[in-house]
Symmetry: C2
Amino acid sequence: MEQEKDFKKILKDAGLKSTIPRLAILKILSELKNPMTAQEIHKKTKGVDLVTLYRTLASFEEKQLVKKVNLQKDSVYYELNIDHHHHIVCTDCGTMEDFELCDMDRLTKKIVAKASNFKNIKEHVLELFGICNACAKI
Amino acid sequence: MEQEKDFKKILKDAGLKSTIPRLAILKILSELKNPMTAQEIHKKTKGVDLVTLYRTLASFEEKQLVKKVNLQKDSVYYELNIDHHHHIVCTDCGTMEDFELCDMDRLTKKIVAKASNFKNIKEHVLELFGICNACAKI
DNA sequence: TTCTAGTTGCAAATCATTTGCATTTAGTAT
DNA sequence: ATACTAAATGCAAATGATTTGCAACTAGAA
């Protein structure tokens, strides 16, 4: 299980102690195909307190290991903060797909040129919603 | 107060009865400069029950009169669903500014061309976050 | 004017997320 | 290795947004 060493290094580099809950959560996050809610992640941990999970996600987010994703749902989704991407979500069945192309630098330049109170854009949220091919056929 | 007739027409066209709370809420929404939380809107109503407010916002949303805006905060923001636009939010002070330019049709075409499970995009969420000029000067 | 489905308000429930605090532990200094 | 301290954990309880149940109340059609 070399993976564990990687996780320990990630935590160390982030200035976080390597604890059992953190390693477990990092492993789970690294295996996720899609962003997931705290409650869903919690079910996968078996033994990590939900409070610890929330605190862990918060510290991971602070250290930029994790980011929150908003999918127009009641609760927040989390995923590892690697390679910039966005999501297309099926509003029927919830299926998701990632996409990388967003070309936001170009767009934000144009927007900032017109904006009266902002020159300095740091982040953007972009998510698409539609009907996946499977649902469309029904 | 010709405005009230307009509001009644809006509600009628949407298939909603014209009630005192609804007219009051519609008026408040029409006067908002920025999206606002249910709790904030509630404070402005004086007399409308918070539950009624939530139900009204839900029915307005269902009839496309209102849309939810997610601003990376704990609660949901609402605004009238007129003229398509997005927001730039200052992560320091919360100041907001609208922008119209988003050119999403062009982008979604490109994205869909690459996507494996989606041909049909219906909506998009796009919000920018940065530091407003006033905060940047400090 | 009557009638009824749709609407409201209140109380109480729910659900996600957070806080307080006493106990435990990782990782450094001895 | 051992001792130490700040950081991390778990439990219970709190918080805050939003929802639900239900009885009383209208808007607006007949």
